[in-house]
Symmetry: none
DNA sequence: AATTGTTTGTTCTTATATAGAACATATAGT
DNA sequence: ACTATATGTTCTATATAAGAACAAACAATT
């Protein structure tokens, strides 16, 4: 089974590949592997081994942490964030940072969150219930 | 086959394990794997898969780049700071800041967001669609 | 709209490399 | 020297990734 944290790797490989204007074939060629493997990496039906991971990061000129989406310097950024937003010194945890990053990269979700915020508390609660049910189901599949 | 660049990984695993005063067994337990695997990692007769790599880094509280000895990350970090904070003076827009506040005061929503993040992109999209439909409706009432 | 070419996704098989267990060898403390 | 603890090695089975061939989108051109 694929580790939770590997979720972002697949997305990132695809993202950076496309950002470079490469096809899966292009990337496969550069890595000297077959194209279908790249497809699988991107669709989370396979996970590259560490050696490939290093090559990919090198090709994209990325740190491993960027490539995998596990930002080593989260804490540093968190500190900086706290410095900038002095009013909120406490309570910013690591998880929250991930939320921030997620919202930044998923503007739609950000929009929905905003709209939820704007709703009255009761409606929010009912949305939460539905969300929970949905998630329970999706996580099963 | 072991990639050249993986040389340091083995050494580092051992180094940080010992720095923590852990035996191979300790580390194996924490990773829920057998001890002999750790031995092999450290002696370069095997290479951990990416999921394990992430776990190890997390256990040692290290960046992947540190763990693997590929320190390209300072440059990346700089880039990222510019990306996040360079856009305007404060970097994170006010809206996002409100989102953060909201998530902090609504831990359930935060939880759901985390769980959504963990889902594959396609499922996320389908959740988004449902969310959108729901919001459209709730906002009417 | 049909056709071609391109890109991406899937299925199946094979091969390989890892995990784990058992065994073997250190290393340390008494 | 003798345990106990820690590490290293060998062997086998298994899991999983790689590749090939096939299939399906998708785009562009006529």
């Amino acid at each position: 089974m694929v580790h939770m944290k590997l979720e972002k790797l697949a997305v990132n490989i695809k993202h950076f590949r496309m950002q470079n204007g490469w096809t899966q074939q292009d990337l496969a060629d550069k890595l000297a592997i077959s194209r279908s493997v790249v497809t699988k990496w991107e669709n989370r039906t396979a996970v590259p081994d560490v050696a490939s991971l290093l090559k990919i990061a090198s090709l994209f000129e990325l740190s491993l942490d960027h490539l995998t989406g596990s930002f080593a310097y989260e804490q540093e950024m968190l500190k900086d964030f706290q410095r900038v937003y002095g009013q909120n010194k406490v309570g910013l945890d690591q998880e929250l940072y991930q939320n921030i990053d997620y919202l930044r990269s998923h503007p739609k979700m950000k929009e929905y969150l905003n709209r939820i915020q704007a709703l009255p508390e009761k409606k929010q609660e009912s949305i939460q219930k539905i969300l929970e049910a949905m998630l329970d189901q999706y996580e099963q599949l």
